[in-house]
Symmetry: C2
Subunit: 585 residues, 2 copies
Amino acid sequence: MKKLTYLIITLIVFPFSLQAQNQLHPDYNELTDTKPHTSPEVWKNQKLPVQLQWGSIDVRYPKHTIPVIPTGNKWTGKAWKGERVNAQAVLWSNQPLKNITLSVSDLRSGSSVIPSSKITPSFVRYVMTDELNKDGKGGCGHRPNKADWDSSLVADVLDAKMRHDIESMTVQPVWLNIWVPSQAQAGKYQGTLTVSADGIAPMELKLELTVSSRTLPEPKDWKFHLDLWQNPYAVARYYNLPLWSKEHFDAMRPVMQRLANAGQKVITASIMYKPWAGQTEDAFDSMVFRMKKLDGTWTYNYTVFDQWIEFMMSVGIDKQINCFTLVPWELKFDYFDQATNRVLFVRAKPGEPDYDDYWFNFLKDFSRHLREKGWFERTTISMDERQPDMMRHAFELIRRADPEYKVSGQGNYYPEVEPFMYDFCLAYGQNVPDDVREVRRKVGKITTVYTCCTEPYPNVFTFSTPAEATWTIWHAVAGNYDGYLRWAYNSWTKEPLLDSRFRTWAAGDCYLVYPGRSSIRMERLVEGVQDAEKIRILREEFQSKGMKSQLRKLNSAVSKFMPENLTKDNAAEMVNEARKVLNNF
Amino acid sequence: MKKLTYLIITLIVFPFSLQAQNQLHPDYNELTDTKPHTSPEVWKNQKLPVQLQWGSIDVRYPKHTIPVIPTGNKWTGKAWKGERVNAQAVLWSNQPLKNITLSVSDLRSGSSVIPSSKITPSFVRYVMTDELNKDGKGGCGHRPNKADWDSSLVADVLDAKMRHDIESMTVQPVWLNIWVPSQAQAGKYQGTLTVSADGIAPMELKLELTVSSRTLPEPKDWKFHLDLWQNPYAVARYYNLPLWSKEHFDAMRPVMQRLANAGQKVITASIMYKPWAGQTEDAFDSMVFRMKKLDGTWTYNYTVFDQWIEFMMSVGIDKQINCFTLVPWELKFDYFDQATNRVLFVRAKPGEPDYDDYWFNFLKDFSRHLREKGWFERTTISMDERQPDMMRHAFELIRRADPEYKVSGQGNYYPEVEPFMYDFCLAYGQNVPDDVREVRRKVGKITTVYTCCTEPYPNVFTFSTPAEATWTIWHAVAGNYDGYLRWAYNSWTKEPLLDSRFRTWAAGDCYLVYPGRSSIRMERLVEGVQDAEKIRILREEFQSKGMKSQLRKLNSAVSKFMPENLTKDNAAEMVNEARKVLNNF
């Protein structure tokens, strides 16, 4: 009876949710790549019309260039229990292929099984990208004219679709993500990836995954302080759903679940209109309603804020709430004016009476509300890349409103600002002195590092070397930071699946994942966070057990991940070298 | 001790309030009149360089044209106790005059006195006007290019200033308004108007006012249903004061007090954004705050509405509240959207679900609120110049929300609409059948008439013959209407004192009074309302006492005031003839 019920539910619910999924994420055609590629003659002269080989996760295989791949049809990998590992195969064909499907067998080690349901094969899709600034010094600045930039298609999207067609002379990479169950037995597991298509014999590749006896905790228990800023406004716009409607939250759930699975610790909340002057395709708006009443007093409503925070907590992201901001890039502050029945703006600097009037009353009421919700201890008032003199006024005001407020900030290291920062995120290349960090750790303060458009590498532009995402997290460990921050998890462009270029910054800067889909960049970043957790666990073990030579070996591998050792080409090599060390413990 | 306190208060408060008054109403220079006028030669040849004579209140004396005035230096008038009467003197000079001051003596009749404080002398100031449409058929339509219209300066503003300078070859009319105290003794009162200036001997004119034994009630007790629409938004903008601030209410008090003194019965309230699609210089906005909450329900706040209504009632205008509107000229309806933190608009027609959702919930809540405030019985939901089919849907909705709602409307006579209208205001030339009006009167319903840009005459454009304002009210009486409505009491233009022209309609259509100042038009309109009250009182007396011949005589004088008897030139003559009859009872 139970089995039958389950079957019926599966039959009823599954098709519906699949349908919903398909409605949200219909298939699409990629933009045209205008770059030179392998000539038709060379394609025609391929020994086999259709070929499948294991490739490397370090490579973005061009769409129309025959890949140069070492032979050997078995992939071998190592993983801890509970860890996710990635592999990439490459299919290429000089003839059109219809209805390509991917399937993976269960992985077996004697009587032990990693079921195929834990393995996600994806078609790697191509998105339009551009390039670094012409001087090679990063990707900041405005890019109003796309024609000024060398654009090309790059492999990045990991598409969730079930079937795929390709034209002749096309490379179709296939991404595999294996999430080893925490309860798996250690052992050497074997299985098969099968690629089929109309009119061809199914092709197979072998997998061999060695599962160690060590266990990686679940993402929610990871200690690495990952902070990728979420943009709920982009999700509502992209799916054309009413903001904060049930449909909007439903659409956000898989996006934010993917983030929770990466070990995200922080909820991004906006407590005013356009904290960053609307720099993204979809501006952040205030999650707090403020009304200035006729008598000059203020009244607040937190319905939107509360629903967003509660939603994110329900997804499993609940350690910290960062509220932006008291010192926005443009010093104008929205409120609903009861008299004029309109949204108006206060324009004032920290320290000015109008600024005080706007923020002091709010901060007092907000503290009351946060305490009522039980969130006060995990909430910070956050300030992004502001000058110390401006922040000093804001600190004073915050403390006056409630001396127990926590403050967070992103930017350069200012010794006079540091003591006020509960969560201090430093620009790549900046750091706090060792003694300061030790004090910070002792009192439970967090110190992290961020990268953004500034860095030519390491970065997660859509044209960046995939291993740079992993490298960056190794760097956070090497630099003795507590975590890593990136300013944009999903500030999607107008057509994020087709075109990652934006009116500012190098392409891909605004988002790490795609609507309904992961990316090579995101998966490689998760690898890094897993590595950081593994390093932490091993260090704790080696220290507690006095395994000094092991500790030295591990620390030596980690310590290489400093800016001076990174070139534009060696991120993959560095990561792979260090991984060998890490995975041998 | 009490006397001393009073003196101190006078000394302290009076200079301050004078100062406040001067700050609100600084002196100004009129625009230049480019029209031809009396030549310098003729001016130079005047027998006396400076002359002062009684003129007529029916004339707008041109600014630079030597007036043609019958000689005789005594003005005689008749008034009831409690009535206001107007007189006009004219000063003209072929040399510049500095520091002209006006003073009026007490008026004396034996031992009886009408104190000079009851007499207001004003400098008549000149404002820019234009003209009727080129076809002479009214003043409607857009006037984007001022150069397309024949513009000129006309005498209309009654300035409150204490001293005035004029250049050579200038006519300076002086307006006198005598408000006879209700407690005055009947009798023939005499007094003097004195005009002084630097370097000339003071000039005098005699006044003789015969006060009858009849008494006109105070304006608040007048029965004539006067409805001139107020625009609080124009006052805030003109004086640059925060909307609904104490300063804004302070600035509105004299403006609205003048309206109360005219016998105004109705408070104009706007319950949505731009009931008339923002046709005035300052658009009407919603006095009600509406929030659509995340869960789709509505919440309302009436703070602004309540303060406006309470303010108007404190001024003495408290009989009726007309709320605009369920059927605006542009069918879009504002609300604050909790999700987006922005003001959004519903676009829907009466009968459509979105329209119902927006209005039905509001009307239910509004009825609750009005009943709580004790205002429900005197409130109407008002609809301006809409088609019957659109109104029908709105009626249905209003009654569904609360069957006891009153409705008011302005426009043409539609028999199918009439029964729903508590306060039905008909376009000039339209009327309800006699039997319908009798039914309406019996059940306490109001039927009034309005004029607007449509009428070339009678009208209150700044270039209209002043007596047309009076004529219009006589017409309301003759047409057996209960009152008169005009769509704009103070929808001021950008610079109302300088230029009465607007981007639409003939000049002066938007306002009857000036900031801090009355007008010839307004005073002549008040005369008409007083006449209407006097006619009502006399009719009641004649009827109750069976004085049939008197009644016939009065009714015969009234009955002439019908459109077919009015020409573009005869309003003053008609009014003066009828006044003779009226003032002889």
